[in-house]
Symmetry: C2
Subunit: 213 residues, 2 copies
Amino acid sequence: MVIKEDMLLYKGRKHLKPEIKTISDFDNSSAHETELRMNLHTGTHLDAPLHMIPEGADSNQLLENDLFYRAKVVPIVEQEKKITLRQLQQLEIEAGDFIIFKTKNSQPNYLKNHPKEFIYLAKDAAKYLSNKAIQGVGIDSIGIERNQSGHPTHKSILGKEIMILEGLRLKDVPAGKYVLMLAPLKIKASDALPLRAVLYEKQELIDKLDFLL
Amino acid sequence: MVIKEDMLLYKGRKHLKPEIKTISDFDNSSAHETELRMNLHTGTHLDAPLHMIPEGADSNQLLENDLFYRAKVVPIVEQEKKITLRQLQQLEIEAGDFIIFKTKNSQPNYLKNHPKEFIYLAKDAAKYLSNKAIQGVGIDSIGIERNQSGHPTHKSILGKEIMILEGLRLKDVPAGKYVLMLAPLKIKASDALPLRAVLYEKQELIDKLDFLL
């Protein structure tokens, strides 16, 4: 997601709006400098277990992780309000996968017009996924869960130290297999990491690298 | 660089210290959330031309760039206070390179003990580099320049829309050729972008990708 003051916010909550402030410019200085103030769960980010689990691991553990993953972008075509266990049971999920759900959230203006009605991962589906030895799960809304008392979806997944990747923009991404690059900022001891997340076709990426050296 | 409250700051200036604030925890909420307040020139970051050039391009232009570059890590072995034109004239610099200087700044505790005496790129050396059609220039201090009136080093390089990458940690990086991955956060219309910057040996990276899919 692009970080800007009028960006999409979780459930449209204004207190989550980032502040991007010019603290010096050429009227008063020889340099133009900007300061960012942002909740780390705004925009595209990884959750650390600490986000929902008291005594859970913080971002220091996430920073030990590799930056490249085998990702599967999975279309959720039924227009329901959540991703269900039944939908997941039809998928081929292998240990080590990074599963990314592309849902109605990716339709133009859906989240803008329905900020509180994003498609989320239901708790029984999350429990099922958490037992699959996957590396992570990503979604095209700012949160992976809403209106489930006690945050059972987060807790199932983070409890197994599987990554949760929120705030993906998938409108132009077809379903399929990809190399997922996750490049989080190295913020110490926090409960989330804003990051750049990019999907590459494997051959596209290898060709790019071959060209370089 | 790891972003934390006791990190190295440009010239040790305390007002540049990031603030990492817990805004909710399990004493008062069902979720742990953190907010970051940070000058965008703190830590590892890319400068946009707007940082030093009135009417210069802002970060929107940087976000159009590719994420992978052909990098050369160049050791500056003479223990001078700056990188000089004479030192650069001995190097093989090709169009399209991303040149990264590894200097005395990378010695353990050098910057911590001498925050105002970092090795920088002298203005005549910057002018020379800016005429080489390189993609970017990186350095192992938080700034590429100090104590040069009017910031001529920044202006030469940014004036040619060559990237400046500051705040690299190179202690464990031998000189040589690498693939440089630059993954900036997508912050709109700013004068700098904090980012994850990683050097890979080409074959190491290709093997990693081959393993994935």
